[in-house]
Symmetry: C2
Subunit: 561 residues, 2 copies
């Protein structure tokens, strides 16, 4: 076979191996060498919390293919046709000479690898907060199989019972689940005043946090970790507010792009290596992908953002290989999709949050819907959906989901597609969604949410978010109208004085409501709340709104019985 | 309140009530009267199989709201503000006078309802095949709560054991599940040679049928029901091939639009009432929606089609109300989405099948992918996806799914959105799908399937469908290359002679394969099959393909152990 171009890939997880595998399939003459400073490559880092949780028994599962073949250098050589050097660190790039200086960490020898095209897949690193005790025994990060393996082993061997996790992002919540299910007491310390800061808006974060607390996790929000206390070994975590006794501390306060090598080589970086749609860096012979790059957003609504994810890294790998092989398939950017399972809750987002959209100066409208994911006669599970759209052209900008229903996964995917395709709310509501009782109600909740937001934009629905409603209720500004049946009222209620008029009696009994005060109606999911608003509007009551999501979507305490 | 326009709605399930409810919310001055010849209205007809299955105990659940309020005329009057006349049949429409002649079935009196706008929501009727015995006792259709209630009661009271269902469409498969779970022996008779004819392509139907058979259902395909035998009560069903002893027969061989009233009024009909994007008929003062209309397809790829579904009926209702209220929200048509749960299989489709696309003269390419819906270290479940795209512009035209994974539901919704938005395969693969191990592998299966189809269009992947592969294998035209590990081969194999070379050994052992014969490679899911093809191609083997979907997607028998 003719000798093709020399491709050097730095980094052996996700983007790197994906680039190499794809390249060898579509450009078999290419000579591909992948190096990594680690002793293992191509492992499933996202699976680490599930190892700790006990989902699978052998940590090597993460470094083996689904049929049990270890992803070793020999495997890549034989099955995939490219060379892998582990324990080999890239020291510097000579862009002029088109070579990489590398160090064999086992033998401590230095050599040079010449390239025609270079691929930087150097990944990201967990941010290490500069606090005392961060290097103590029983302090873990969760980015490498060794971390998961040693944490699980030490929990067993030392009988660790009290876990304090720093950071309430994706990994923090996954580990809160894993450690709780392993029988530990879990506290999550988060410096922001909500879980998943920057990922969810406050209202959805509050809604999800209520459920996570119900599983026994203590959420220490608005507290900053100050010091890990102990004598070389974790005894407690001190925050700006309290000191939490702890047998183990896990730190997951964000990832930083490993872009030092690129910066030293003079490549353009900006909180990650800057790439074009073909994943080329500012040097067209050098590509970059995975957690070391900053991604374009799919639409003009947001600036590039650093969102490290294995799914994106794999997309990058394909794009890089295709461009090297002269079969370009441009990457259309990300919409910042993220999902996490926290116990039996599915929590996720795609697109822009309300906060991010407002910070970008976009004129938007939002709504929150809550309700069941199936007809009431099936095993329906509730979820809440928050939706954000542009006022001007009604384009979908983002959604967030949280709830017991796993249907949120599909809604996020549909919304991610709609955002990428520039779809507006009317189109979203018109999608020919699947309908059968085991899967959804006849009107898909995502469509219902789009309808509700359209109704707000059209001035028909005067929905008020639960957070706003709570403020106005507690300031004594509103009269609450509970439009539910007496039986529902018996079962559960908001902890406030209400006027109780079931919807069916409202046309007869509306005189019980004042015309000169603001009225907020609600019901179980606020469909009847919205209908009450319309009935009252039609009768000349002008100051009427409803609490979006009703009692099912209420993120604060309710009273039972 | 000012007296608004008089709106008369004929038909009280799905589209009719939806029109009325929406209209009263956005145009409260409208005077809305809904009539239906039945004694009950607004019931969840799609829930009938689940009542028979025992999912819920009281048939009235289907005529009550989620909080237990009966949807009676009084309910609609009090809570929704419109008038309902049950047991009232529309006899004729006088378009000149703008009135409907109606008959009160209880009192046998005839009167006239004047309208400004008329809405036809007359629904569909189950087709009644003209065979002897069709009116016997214990022959059921499944379109009304009475049917489900009496079937369930008679199964108990008479101890019915042997069920024969005529028609292997959505309702046939739902009832096969329901009756099997109720302990009956179930035979499904279908005149076409596959289940879900017109809905799934033969290959996907064969794949799904294999699973349904494994649940004990006997599928009598390619057999036409000829007569129901018995003495006034079902004893057997005779088909063109056999006679099946039967204690009950259920007939579900399709729905016909109830468009007679419209036809008699001179409205344009064509296998359903013809409507525009605002659901107006050929008379602009008369609207129609729900199962009595023929729908536009969302793109120019297909002609209007009759697809009666509750989800579409609800969309129509909203569109009609919005147009009457001068807030038009045009309906963008259907993509013929359909889904059914058959035991633990999720089976569905959206867009065009391969067969329909070819019949339309479209130049297409297709592929089938099969594999797990999650990383292998989680509780992954398999599914198969068939994807159809236009050769010319790579637009997605349709997908079909079948498998144990319920993720197919979300894939169908994403595909329905992509088809509506005119998305192509590259865009579909670029959607920022959710990724976390409890939900999906890092490369979403729908994206993998799009990649595979792109690879076929680019001449990289030479995938062959299982049906085509079987034909060529049994004609002795191909050498089979099993690229799996020895352990996998021990566990399960195709029932044919194969050359067994694990992928990792192929570069060394390819000389065992002939260069002058067609080779078909495969593995568990045919990823290694595809890789084997590329490795052999690179070594100058030109006549190599792979079996799409591998063993997981193989729709015929395999050998175990």
């Amino acid at each position: 076979m003719a000798q093709g171009p020399r491709i050097v890939i730095i980094g052996g997880v996700a983007c790197g191996p994906k680039t190499a595998c794809r390249l060898k399939r579509i450009m078999p003459e290419s000579q591909v060498t992948l190096i990594d400073r680690d002793r293992i490559v191509s492992y499933g880092a996202c699976g680490l919390p599930y190892y700790v949780e006990g989902q699978f028994e052998n940590i090597e599962t993460l470094t083996h293919t689904p049929v049990g073949i270890a992803r070793t250098p020999a495997f890549f050589d034989q099955a995939k046709g490219f060379t892998v050097h582990t324990q080999t660190e890239a020291l510097s790039i000579d862009r002029e000479a088109k070579s990489v200086q590398v160090k064999d960490l086992a033998n401590d020898t230095i050599s040079t690898l010449a390239y025609d095209k270079l691929v930087l897949a150097t990944g990201g690193s967990a941010f290490k907060p500069p606090i005392p005790g961060i290097d103590f025994e029983n302090v873990w990060f969760m980015t490498h199989p060794d971390h998961a393996e040693s944490m699980a082993a030490q929990i067993q061997q030392q009988g660790l019972k009290r876990a304090v996790l720093i950071g309430a992002g994706f990994i923090g919540l996954e580990m809160a689940e894993a450690l709780t299910l392993q029988g530990l007491d879990v506290t999550v310390v988060e410096m922001e005043d909500q879980i998943m800061p920057g990922l969810l808006d406050e209202d959805m974060a509050t809604y999800a946090a209520k459920h996570i607390r119900s599983k026994g996790v203590y959420l220490a929000l608005d507290e900053r970790a100050v010091a890990i206390e102990g004598n070389g070994k974790v005894a407690a975590l001190k925050t700006t507010a309290q000191t939490y006794p702890a047998d183990l501390v896990m730190v997951a306060v964000g990832t930083r792009p490993n872009d030092q090598l690129a910066r030293e080589a003079g490549l353009l970086c900006n909180n990650g290596i800057v790439i074009n749609q073909h994943c080329q860096t500012s040097d067209p012979d050098i590509y970059a992908g995975g957690d070391c790059v900053i991604n374009h957003y799919s639409t003009a609504d947001a600036n590039p953002m650093f969102v490290p994810l294995g799914s994106t890294a794999n997309k990058h790998g394909r794009v890089i290989a295709d461009h090297i092989a002269n079969k370009p398939t441009p990457f259309s950017g990300i919409t910042a999709t993220g999902i996490v399972r926290a116990f039996d809750y599915t929590i996720g987002r795609t697109g822009l949050t309300e906060k991010a959209a407002r910070q970008s100066g976009l004129e938007i409208e939002t709504t929150t819907w809550a309700g069941p994911d199936k007809p009431h006669y099936m095993d329906a599970k509730p979820l809440a959906i928050k939706m954000i759209a542009s006022q001007k052209d009604r384009r979908l900008l983002g959604i967030q989901v949280a709830g017991l229903s796993t249907a949120g996964k599909g809604y996020l995917d549909v919304a991610a597609a709609a955002i990428l395709f520039g779809g507006n709310l009317d189109q979203l509501a018109n999608v020919d969604f699947c309908y059968a009782p085991p899967y959804s109600p006849p009107i898909e909740p995502l469509a219902t949410c789009a309808h509700l937001l359209t109704n707000k934009l059209d001035g028909l629905a005067n929905g008020v978010s639960p957070l706003e409603a709570k403020k106005r209720i507690e300031a004594g500004e509103v009269v609450l109208l509970d439009a539910r049946t007496p039986a529902e009222l018996e079962e559960m209620r908001l902890p406030y004085d209400v006027v109780h008029i079931p919807l069916g009696a409202l046309r007869q009994r509306m005189h019980e409501l004042p015309r000169d005060r603001d009225i907020l109606a609600f019901c179980k999911v606020s469909m009847r709340g919205y209908e009450a608003q319309r009935i009252l509007n039609a009768a000349g009551y002008e100051r009427v709104g409803f609490i979006e999501g009703g009692i099912v979507g209420w993120p604060f305490e309710v009273q039972f019985g």
